[in-house]
Chain length 433, copies 2
């Protein structure tokens, strides 16, 4: 049974704090293993990559077969049924349209003194996208990572996806093709991250690596951070539903289970001001768990980490939500726009009963790579900006240097940085002399 909390109970604060700080994920300490794998790839390149792939994925590769050929991709994507192809195309089109609106603007302005200031955005040169193999090999994630990179203008986009026992997922390859991915390599794990970060004879290094992965992949991304940019280190998925009286309990149950089915460590929470709805949702979850295909996973998540919280009013619900800072927040209430104004920390908000979270996973348009584990307090979902960087611009004139140079000289000398001061002073003396 999930935790049932009443926000008006005397022990609520203690129990809610316990819920907030519950550790949902075992992080096995794989750091030494990962360090050794990275060192091996750096030292021996392709040879190490091929050996590790044979060992972990049971696939025999050569430098020539590390990369999927165009013909192989053609053959695999031809297997995808038309309905799935159409659905991927629709998703890609909507994700592209949303992310195109995120493109930030360059700026430049000239002050009265003649100084010109501004900034300019440029794309990273090359990006690498990690795609897990096996169960969690999601074509939707390929779209969500690759499309923002392409919209940002990244020239070279490489994917690594392991193919355990030589099994490739045609839908992943089709998603990569639709998104405009340039290179696809059949490697995975920490060795794939190392190859992307440092390069091998067959895989040119990239500047930025994004995409989800297991503990080894996460540890490798942490280690190569600095050498390349990385996106976030994602934890298990979460959903918080805030619902008021009159909402459909079965829809809410399914929305909560749609996160719970991802992972036994996933978390689904309902906050409602209607005790009857709380009971009805609990019953609906139990009923749906009887027949759900992934009931073992979803049931474990619901049992171990699920929670239903009753509150006196929706303002309290919003305040608790802000402390949780959920990855996904559904506002299944009569006036979701008003309630949304009270939300200060959330990865993505789904407004109203007609917006199941699953829409956002696939075809809504916004990115489904979102901050987990309360990190929406300080970070955002993936966007085009993750594949861009800002160069600031400053251009002084003699007049503007006369106006602000002396202050720079004063501060430089106060910080005992003599050459800083002299670099300004030499120019001012020239102007005055």
């Amino acid at each position: 049974m999930p935790v049932m909390l009443d926000a008006t109970a005397a022990d609520f604060e203690t129990r809610f704090t316990a819920l907030l700080s519950a550790k949902r994920e075992d992080s096995p300490d794989v750091d030494d293993t990962v360090a050794a794998i990275i060192a091996d790839i750096r030292a021996r390149g392709d040879a190490a990559l091929i050996e590790l792939t044979a060992k972990f994925d049971r696939v025999a590769l050569s430098p020539r077969t590390l990369r999927f050929s165009s013909a192989e991709i053609d053959a695999l994507v031809a297997q995808v049924p038309q309905a799935e192809r159409d659905a991927l195309e629709l998703a890609a089109e909507r994700i592209r349209a949303y992310h195109e609106r995120q493109m930030p603007q360059d700026a430049s302005w000239t002050e009265e003194s003649g100084a010109t200031l501004g900034w300019r955005w440029t794309p990273v040169g090359a990006a690498g996208l990690y795609v897990p193999g096996g169960l969690a090999s999601y074509p939707s994630s390929v779209l969500m990572n690759a499309i923002p990179a392409k919209v940002a203008g990244v020239e070279r986009l490489a994917i690594t996806v392991p193919t355990p026992d030589n099994k490739a997922n045609p839908l992943v390859l089709l998603a990569a093709r639709i998104a405009g991915v340039d290179e696809i390599y059949r490697v995975g794990g920490a060795q794939a991250i190392a190859a992307l970060a440092y390069g091998t004879a067959s895989i040119a290094p990239v500047d930025k690596i994004t995409g989800p992965g297991n503990a080894y992949v996460a540890a490798a991304k942490r280690r190569v951070f600095g050498r390349v940019g990385i996106d976030m280190i994602a934890g298990p998925s979460e959903i918080l539903v805030i619902a008021d009286k009159g909402q459909n309990p079965d829809w809410i149950a399914l929305d909560m289970l749609s996160q719970a089915e991802h992972d036994e460590s996933a978390q689904a929470i309902l906050i409602t001001d209607d005790p009857a709805l709380a009971r009805d949702v609990a019953a609906a979850v139990a009923a749906r768990l009887e027949t759900l295909e992934r009931r073992a996973i979803a049931g474990a998540s619901w049992r171990d980490f699920g929670a239903i919280i009753t509150v006196p009013d929706l303002a309290t619900a919003a305040a608790l939500s802000n402390r949780i800072a959920p990855e996904h927040l559904e506002l299944c209430v009569a006036d979701p726009d008003a309630l949304s104004q009270r939300i200060t920390h959330a990865g993505a908000i789904f407004l109203g009963a007609w917006t199941p979270e699953a829409i956002g996973d696939y075809v809504g348009g916004p990115n489904h790579v979102l901050p987990t584990a309360r990190s929406a307090r300080f970070s955002s979902g993936l966007s085009v900006v993750d594949f861009l960087k800002r160069t600031t611009l400053a251009k002084m004139t003699p007049e503007s240097l006369r106006a602000i140079g002396p202050a720079a000289e004063t501060l430089a000398n106060a910080e005992s940085l003599g050459a800083h001061g002299l670099s300004v002073r030499a120019r001012l003396d020239h102007l005055n002399g």
Copy 2:
């Protein structure tokens, strides 16, 4: 003597690659020490913080004196000479004006089907700024970190600054006051980072930590990343100057020395298409090094990591600059705007001979916290966006769910995520039924 390279020489590629990959910084392995300090702060809070401060900074504190009182700050900032006060105020005003322009816009739009999409920006709730003690305790860095946070709307901004032997820097405290910092604690090192990330009885935890520090601070920031957001892990400072015929060699020498004087591991590079200027700058650096206050540091940096590269033309200079991806790039050329168009990777560009890099350190307006060690390939300087996060918004109508829901269901089923599909299907059935 610095490295002298000729881009047309046969061995240039080898020597340039060696320059690019030269390791300038010893990273002492302090990770175990830092892990123990963090664990101690988490376990014992203030008591550990006070003990570690006594040990490392030789300052005896109590929970009541961890934080500077308003009266103490008043007394210290009263010592600051008026000229320095005026210079700080001017710098703060210009930095604030620049960063206010960076505030990103919220967006919301409604599609023909009735679906409303968009995003909203909100500030992090609390930010912590680390300020080093001793030699590298720069008031300008306080402004550069604190002002973007305040412009972003961060409600609570705390500073930690160690006061070894109980010596506080009045200019740092004044900068903090001018920037609107709310709390200042006299602690430093990994223990300060741990206190900011996890909180103690006296220091409430923050959501984001920024600011420079030594190897212990950097290792601590890496460790608490995920629990809180962090800015970059900064390396030693760098400048690249591209100059053409007729530029003033003494000004260029001073600009290069103004980075070299920061740190023996700093790097200053000149690229020019004029061999005579290359010789003149080398001579000017040598001459200025005779009298510079920080000649020991600047001289070591120039000797060990300085470089002068001659190129056949400015297009080659730009191409090499893009491979270096410098933190600071000065374009001391006749037409800096044209050359700037060729630059794809740089933290900040200073255009023309009237724009010494030192202007950007203090009063230009753009941030001086910039990506080092070639990370301008994938990251940007500090900005207001570092203290904001984006929440994406989606709101479907029955009509829009009818239009795109089936595609979501198809993809969910293709990914074997049954509850995802059912959460859409249940609503579509209701509409159809």
